[in-house]
């Protein structure tokens, strides 16, 4: 007669991230978080969920150059804005991705509504990434509806669904609700990353620190 030792089933770790398409730290942080997950022995049991957080509801509806937007928003010269953006670009380059100072800026409310649609198809995370690649690579048409439809279709979202969202107010309440939820949860920095509904990481940290947070959350849930 043999006995079988049943391993305790582990509970999946959910990582919730609140962010905006225009958020440079989400763009940079995502690469680091992805590295941390890839290195984790629990990578297959980690689920990523994207939530929206609009940083600037008053951003112009008409797309303008980012340096002009930053100059107006912060009251700094465009040269100052360029210097800081190019410094971030150099940092991004060392981490293997493109980040251009000369890129479009605009109001992200419609994009964020589309992310809620994408979440229904299970591709919200990928949609944000695709939007950010368009924006941060400096594509002037990143905010155009045709671009958003193209990106969404690639991920399997029906074009008509995307157009329907863009021509209505669908998911407007969901964007506001996500924002309020993050604030009520104590978010004091965006991106706001919550691991296992236990640990909160405000802002972007290194891949090693994301890894440490993943390990700690995993241990608390499954230890």
């Amino acid at each position: 007669m043999t006995s079988t030792v049943m391993a305790k089933p582990s509970t999946r770790l959910t990582i919730d991230v609140w962010a905006d398409v225009l958020c440079p730290w989400r763009y940079i942080g995502e690469h680091r978080l992805a590295q941390a997950i890839e290195k984790s022995p629990h990578a297959d049991e980690i689920e990523l969920k994207i939530h929206t957080f609009q940083l600037d509801p008053n951003a112009p509806k008409t797309v303008i150059p980012t340096l002009e937007y930053l100059s107006k928003k912060y009251g700094v010269s465009q040269a100052q804005a360029r210097a800081q953006e190019e410094a971030l670009g150099r940092q991004a380059k060392t981490e293997g991705f493109e980040y251009k100072a000369d890129r479009p800026a605009g109001n992200t409310f419609d994009m964020l509504r589309l992310i809620h649609l994408a979440n229904e198809y299970g591709v919200g995370w990928d949609y944000v990434r695709a939007m950010q690649v368009e924006v941060f690579s400096g594509h002037d048409d990143a905010f155009e509806h045709a671009t958003l439809v193209r990106l969404g279709e690639k991920l399997g979202i029906p074009a008509q669904e995307i157009r329907d969202v863009l021509t209505t107010e669908r998911y407007a309440d969901a964007v506001r609700a996500d924002h309020d939820q993050a604030v009520q949860m104590g978010a004091n920095g965006v991106p706001f990353t919550v691991l296992g509904q236990l640990l909160g990481v405000p802002g972007a940290v290194s891949a090693e620190q994301y890894g440490a947070a993943i390990n700690e959350a995993w241990e608390r849930i499954n230890g």
Binding site: W25, V76, Q80, Q84, V183, Q184, G189, V190
Partner: protein
């Protein structure tokens, strides 16, 4: 999420690595900052403004 659930979740969340952040955007003002800004500013035009260092 119902209010009670939000409050429950908020009370359960422990902030970690707050002092390790390399950059973040303020959820209230939307202002984005990064610690390396001072170095970049020195390469740009001189400006007496004490505005937060912008990224986005």
């Amino acid at each position: 999420m119902a209010d009670a659930k939000v409050e429950e979740a908020a009370s359960a969340i422990e902030m970690v690595a707050q002092d390790q952040t390399e950059g973040y955007c303020d959820p209230v003002t939307g202002v984005c900052v990064w610690p390396g800004a001072a170095q970049a500013e020195s390469e740009a035009e001189v400006d007496d403004s004490e505005e937060p260092s912008p990224t986005e």
